[in-house]
Amino acid sequence: MNNAGQAYEVVIGLEVHAQLLTKSKMFCACGADFGLPANTQTCPVCLGMPGTLPVINRTAVEMAVRAGLALNCAIRSKNRFARKNYFYPDLPKGYQISQYEAPICENGVVEVAVGDSRKPIRVRRAHLEEDAGKNVHDGDNRAVSLVDLNRAGTPLLEIVTEPDMRSADEVVAYLKMLRDILMYLDVCDGNMEQGSLRCEPNLSLRPVGQQAFGTKVELKNINSFKFVKDAIEYEIKRQTKVLNGGGKIQQETRLWNVDKGVTATMRSKEEAHDYRYFPDPDLVPLDLAQDWIDALRMALPELPEARQKRFVTDYGLPDYDAGVLTTSKALADYFEACVTLHNQPKTVSNWVMGELLRELNNAGCSAASSPVSPERLVSLLQLVDKGTISLKVARDIFPELYASGKSPEQIVQAKGLTQVSDEGALEKVIGEVMAKNPAQVAQYRSGKDTVLGFFVGQVMKASGGKANPGKVNELLKKKLAG
């Protein structure tokens, strides 16, 4: 059968693994840092040695609850851990401690902006689990595989949505929103390249108008927003082609191949594991006090959506500005720090969204570690306000301000960029310009006012951009009038 021309709707759900920013691992006292020499961040517990036992990291539980509350989840005060059993060299105990029947967070929802409208994405559950280690295959000796267990046992929050997304753009919007929220809460650093935020979309197609879901494919190995979009769009095309050709979609897990830009089968449904989940008898069920949950709810920081609304109402910013400024907590914090020092929100917003963000993006840097501190940016703006330098000069020197680590005053002084407002000096320049352009003087005096702009430009040019434009205007009118 050939279904060419049939239109399909894509149905996407997302599993996200967020590594929690705890100091120690999920079930032992080892540190949870990234990038240490292999197996130096291990102990008998996370090595799965005989007789050792796990102890729950209280901070990880707290982070999971805070994330759950921010995602509008119900917090299950009585939740427990389960063992997910499978063999793999990077899994020291032969099982992963996870949560199965009783996850800590359930039934949440977040609203994401899709074009001009907002769409709710339901969060089915968010549960705590431990990460596995890493197998290393590319050593000098190809016959040997090595295992690094530094990461084994670091805490993860797995956040699972309902199949509520209908396009790659919706997935990206949700993922960005989720990442913002987790970063706002300081529970995850959101770094997709390093794997502290991993996403696994599951995706199916159905003919437009059909209620029943199609066969689901899971995608793995996606470590940037770009790849999320690319992989999903590739997979939609692939599945459309299969269906239109009369074929059937196999239920399977597929890996995104970055180099080739395609997905390929990793394992089929038949090869899927039976994980034999059962409650972990080494851990007593958690019983979280409602008071404690309530206190965490009260202490939640302002989340991106609320902050965006506040930026519009409190600072009178356009929606667009408020949206850009609240994309990351660091940027929003930066903006507010500036406004506290210099109460001109729209001016600050222009600078932060313009000059600052351009430099930060070029350097791949976060606002939290910007080499230009809010104090420095504000002192630059104040130089403009006081008339010490022109706006143009301020813009011109910003890259140097960013790169050099010098203060705006130092740069202005060293380069002699101080604005010229002295009437005697300006009158001299004006006199010279008028002498060079007698024809234009005559035009102006015969009533052609528009020539004024020409004179302003010439005077500014002659002063090397340092002349105070307001003063130049005022003096020119006086002189030209004769």
Binding site: M49, I56, K93, R276, Y277, L283
Partner: protein, 488 residues
């Protein structure tokens, strides 16, 4: 004076008074071990030289000062599934034949804190799976009362070592009777504390929700002394109870059971119980009555579900607990393997004995998709019923008295080909693990063939004191515990 014949309390007193040095103690036990160990085979590994070095250092340090802690200088044997830092801990398995843990179990750390002396690690059924110590990769231990009989299991090595005076006291572990049953077989005292009373950290897990470390000793007072040291909350074990620990030796002040209500569950005196055992246990019940106990009938109606429930839950947990032995990190790795899958399969094929494999397969099956509800989930429901049985019974009585084992110790090889018969030798002990209660096994007689018979006293959770009081009163009124095996 033969030091090896003393109880812990006597030896500790003697040492405390400075009448004997730690080195003399180790020397006496070395002699005794050299003499009887070839017959009994209680130990998997001995560390007598290290014990002697520690003893000499201790004597040096004390230099005439009196000892301050009850276990100081006391020579112990430890079941070889309890981790001892720097000392081989094999679980009687080829899988861990070379495993030396870099950490102590919490119970061991507490003993070390008192400067105890480790003589060696005792034999067991591989990974504590068995009731005869025949499932050891290093060969069976023998019953000191009759070298042709099994010492029981799985803590058979510890029980045999105590019965043969090859240590003053020992630690065992009890998942379904593994302390009490060998204690009964060997005519010594074995105490399984309440689940959560003693930390499991460093006890190599067989079935995590059932395992518990406990003392195996020559008499009840020694069990109380040893429990004093190892009991208590441990931040490294989330399942350990955060409750105060009483001084258990104070429970031994009363030598009667006046005002104690003692229950006898009729379900434990049904078909399959050897008449000699029944007689001895019923005589013990009479004795407890004479000592002031109020004897009552109690019902534990779910008893007949206990064996099935136990073998589903214990094996399910074991199948997961033993997954870590995969050849990747420590222990055995098969040399015959070329691929990952081959490494897993051959390592586990070569490393585990038949009983361990049997239980891993049973447990894996019970947890599998499509079978979980019918097996594991149902077993958990049955476990709840069993626990409720005990709760109901303990509203009527303060102690429950039963046999420990349906028969006296059986012959070596008699049941090793018939796992079901073997499983039934735990029928009176496993319910207690499923419910979590404390229970003790004490000697209460001998068969005509001269083999010891054990009496089990079960108490409410965390009421080890009542269990010890009942056991002590009975012990003081009888002579069974004074009889020693003839092995020499």
């Amino acid at each position: 004076m033969s030091l090896h014949k003393l109880t812990l309390r006597e030896l500790s007193d003697t040492f405390g008074k400075g009448e004997v040095t730690a080195a003399e103690i180790v020397r006496a036990y070395t002699l005794r071990i050299n003499q009887v160990e070839p017959k009994v085979k209680a130990y998997i590994s001995q560390v007598k030289e290290a014990a002697m070095a520690q003893a000499e250092a201790l004597d040096q340090k004390l230099k005439g000062w009196r000892r301050t802690m009850p276990l100081m200088g006391m020579p112990l044997a430890i079941k070889d599934n309890i981790c001892t830092q720097g000392v081989l801990t094999t679980c009687a398995s080829r899988m861990l034949a070379t495993f030396v843990p870099p950490y102590d179990a919490t119970a061991i750390a507490r003993l070390r804190g008192q400067s105890y002396l480790l003589l060696g690690k005792t034999n067991l059924d591989e990974f504590a799976m068995g009731s005869s110590t025949e499932n050891s990769a290093f060969g069976p231990s023998r019953n000191p009362w009759n070298l042709g009989a099994v010492p029981g299991g799985s803590s058979g090595g510890s029980a045999a070592a105590v019965a043969a005076d090859e240590c003053v006291v020992a630690l065992g572990s009890d998942t379904g009777g593994s302390i009490r049953q060998p204690a009964a077989c060997c005519g010594v005292v074995g105490l399984k504390p309440t689940y959560g009373r003693v930390s499991r950290y460093g006890l190599v897990a067989f079935a995590s929700s059932l395992d518990q470390i406990g003392p195996i000793t020559k008499d009840v007072a020694d069990a109380a002394m040893l429990l004093n040291v190892i009991a208590g909350h441990d931040a490294w074990d989330s399942t350990s109870a955060n409750l105060p620990v009483p001084d258990y030796t104070k429970a031994l002040k009363k030598k009667d059971v006046k005002k104690l209500r003692i229950g006898v569950p009729r379900e434990y005196f049904a078909e399959g119980l050897d008449p000699e055992v029944e007689q001895a246990v019923m005589a013990a019940v009479e004795e407890l009555k004479t000592l002031g106990g109020e004897i009552k009938d109690v019902a534990l109606p779910t008893t007949d579900a206990a064996v099935a429930t136990y073998y589903l839950i214990a094996t399910a947990e074991a199948s997961s607990n033993l997954a870590r032995y995969d050849g990747v990190k420590y222990g055995l790795r098969s040399k015959q393997s070329h691929t990952l899958l081959e490494m897993y399969m051959k390592t586990r094929q070569e490393g585990f004995g038949p009983e361990v494999k049997r239980r891993i397969m049973l447990g894996t099956y019970a947890l599998s998709a499509g079978y979980y509800d019918a097996y594991y989930a149902k077993a958990q429901a049955a476990r709840t019923l069993i626990r409720r049985d005990f709760e109901a019974a303990f509203r009527e009585v303060d102690l429950i008295v039963t046999p420990v084992m349906p028969t006296p110790a059986f012959k070596l090889g008699e049941k090793s080909e018939d796992p079901l018969q073997m499983y039934l030798s735990d029928i009176y002990t496993i319910s207690v693990n499923l419910a979590g209660n404390p229970a003790i096994s004490i000697p209460c007689g001998f068969s005509k063939a001269g083999l010891p018979i054990g009496l089990q006293l079960i108490g409410r959770p965390f009421e080890e004191e009542t269990v010890l009081r009942g056991a002590y009163a009975y012990e003081q009124a009888t002579d069974w515990h004074k009889k020693r095996s003839a092995v020499r």
